[in-house]
Amino acid sequence: MTRDLIHRWFAPVAIAILLLVPLTTNSYIQFIINQVIVYVIIAIGLNLLLGYAGQFAFAHAAMMGIGAYTAALLMHRLGVTFWIAVPAGGFAAAAIGSLGALPAMRMKRVYLALMTLAIAELIQWVLVHWKVVTLGTDGVKIPHEKFLWFTLASDYHKFYLILAAMAVLYVVARRLVESKFGRSLVAIRENEIVAQCNGISIAHTKAAVFAVSAFYAGIGGALFALVLGHIVPDGFGLFQLVVHFSIVVIGGLISMFGSVIGAVLLTTLPELLRGVRALQELIYGVLLMVFIIFMPGGIAGFAKQRGWLPDEILVRGWRALQARLKREGGS
């Protein structure tokens, strides 16, 4: 009973505490916290694709790049307000992401990974070399926009924007995985043939999950651009992807809360090793290996085993059903 209570009140209380965070931070810490929240959004998107649907795709960092560049270029070149530019980044990534799903429909195993790796590298190459549009390696600066009292120059103001986006996207993702769609994803991950026999359209479901995951990456990328204020193509390469993989795997695959833990841990970690690229690579790489080999469920999986975290339930009402069965079985 208390566990249910904690489970129910956890999110509202957490958000209330988060709302008060800017009162206690300086600008630098606020900047890092903003990054953490952006990475939560991105990790949730990757978790849907990699954890729930079991699609091993390499394009998440590139989708983040598409979102970031769409938003940044709209704002920088056309003076579009971020209220439009950020969602536009998400939708642009979703459109390209669902195109990337085309190969996934007929390809299995190794080929999907290779295909998406090639697409991701190609996108990065375009970002670097299509200088007329993307400004090449100079990168794009985000203008400091004002909207009533709200200004993009302040890390504190940005925090509330990003937090609101994260809260909405988190809830949407929770709902998605608990819906029929979420169960179809798991069915496809476990066995495509069985899923097909149960009337799940593999093509539609895969296209949808690629699009949703890319949308999260795109929104995350656009907000990432707002947080940093200046983006370069190099920021969306393979290293970025390994950061995403590490967050999702170390936090825990198939757990929304795991993505949050992973983002908090792995975004603050490089701040401690600031500037030392070699150490960052070494630590991310080794952590990724160690966790997959020895703790494949990640931190969230470990916590679930110990009973510190509730098992995530893919079927809504499952708990009530269990309770009823228990009562009826007992009587």
Binding site: L50, G54, F56, P103, R106, M107, R109, V110, Y111, A113, L114, M115, L117, A118, I119, E121, L122, W125, H129, I193, L238, F239, V242, F245, S246, V249, R277, A278, L279, Q280, E281, L282, I283, Y284, G285, V286, L287, L288, M289, I292, I293, P296
Partner: protein, 292 residues
């Protein structure tokens, strides 16, 4: 007539390198179902070991290269044993993810002592000028590359056809359960295959380094070319990897000359995307059958 001839010669030399990279990828994939995303870094580590032995220990060139290849072979053997054997029967995504981690760990390890600098790797015959054969002009380095790749290919052919270990490897690739039932030590075969693949990767590394320069990020380019070669060859076929590699080298050179030099940078991505869309099982691959 001269230009196509020259393009063919250097294309074959580059292609031989890509074929060696693809060979390492295909061997590991066939045996353990692992896509080795860290193979480019194995190549880089091999080249750096060779460079260090040559420059800091002053070993003679062939000895240094041989030692680098051996060291990478041992590294592959040990890596398989500690990192991949415990999860050998897990989902292929899990295994591939470990290789992604491996790739970055190796890059970090190389970057700690060598930093962000770019090193020039000495050639085997630094003083010999280009060899002119009628209308054909070849650099000695290219000739060495083609020669070594050819010798290695023949050696591997003999190894897989006529030695017990080679036959056991093929048996394990074809049917893991069957192989272990008839008493093949499949664990040893796994480690042996990794050792072989990493050693071949190191050979490619020390051959590529004089022309490609030496830096911790050098592996990515070769990995993608190797993937392109392997995909073209069907990803499950050793002859396919070799033919695919040579074809990629030739396509690169000809398209780079006649279409645009930028094509050489993106050819690997384009070929992977094109082949997978149009002809997903490559030149030598077979369409898999689904069993319910």
């Amino acid at each position: 007539m001269e230009i196509p001839l020259l393009l063919t010669a250097s294309g074959l030399a580059n292609g031989a390198l890509y074929a060696l990279v693809a060979l390492g990828l295909v061997l590991v994939y066939k045996t353990q179902d692992v896509v080795q995303f860290g193979h480019g870094e194995v190549l880089m580590i091999g080249a750096f070991i060779g460079y260090s032995l040559l420059n800091y220990l002053g070993l003679p060139y062939p000895a240094a290269m041989l030692a680098a290849v051996l060291a990478c072979g041992i590294m592959g053997f040990v890596l398989e044993r500690i990192a991949f054997r415990p999860i050998a029967y897990h989902h292929h995504i899990t295994l591939a993810m470990v290789t992604v981690g491996l790739s970055f760990a190796l890059k970090g390890i190389a970057r700690i002592p060598f930093g962000a600098d770019i090193y020039t790797f000495p050639r085997l015959f630094p003083d010999t000028p280009t060899i002119v054969w009628g209308k054909l002009i070849v650099t000695p380095q290219h000739l060495v590359t083609i020669g070594v790749a050819l010798a290695l290919t023949i050696g591997l052919f003999v190894f897989f056809r006529s030695t017990t270990m080679g036959k056991q490897m093929r048996a394990t690739q074809q049917n893991l359960t069957g192989a272990s039932i008839i008493g093949i030590n499949t664990g040893l075969i796994f480690s042996g295959t990794w050792a072989l693949a990493c050693a071949i990767g190191a050979v490619a590394g020390v051959l590529a380094a004089p022309d490609a320069l030496l830096y911790p990020d050098m592996g990515a380019r070769f990995l993608l070319k190797g993937f392109a070669a392997a995909v073209l060859g069907g990803f499950e076929s050793v002859p396919g990897a070799i033919v695919g590699g040579l074809l990629i080298g030739l396509i690169d050179n000809f398209a780079g000359f006649y279409i645009d030099t930028a094509f050489q940078e993106i050819s690997a991505y384009c070929i992977i995307i094109l082949v997978l869309f149009v002809w997903p099982y490559g030149l030598f691959g077979r369409r898999p059958t689904h069993r319910v």
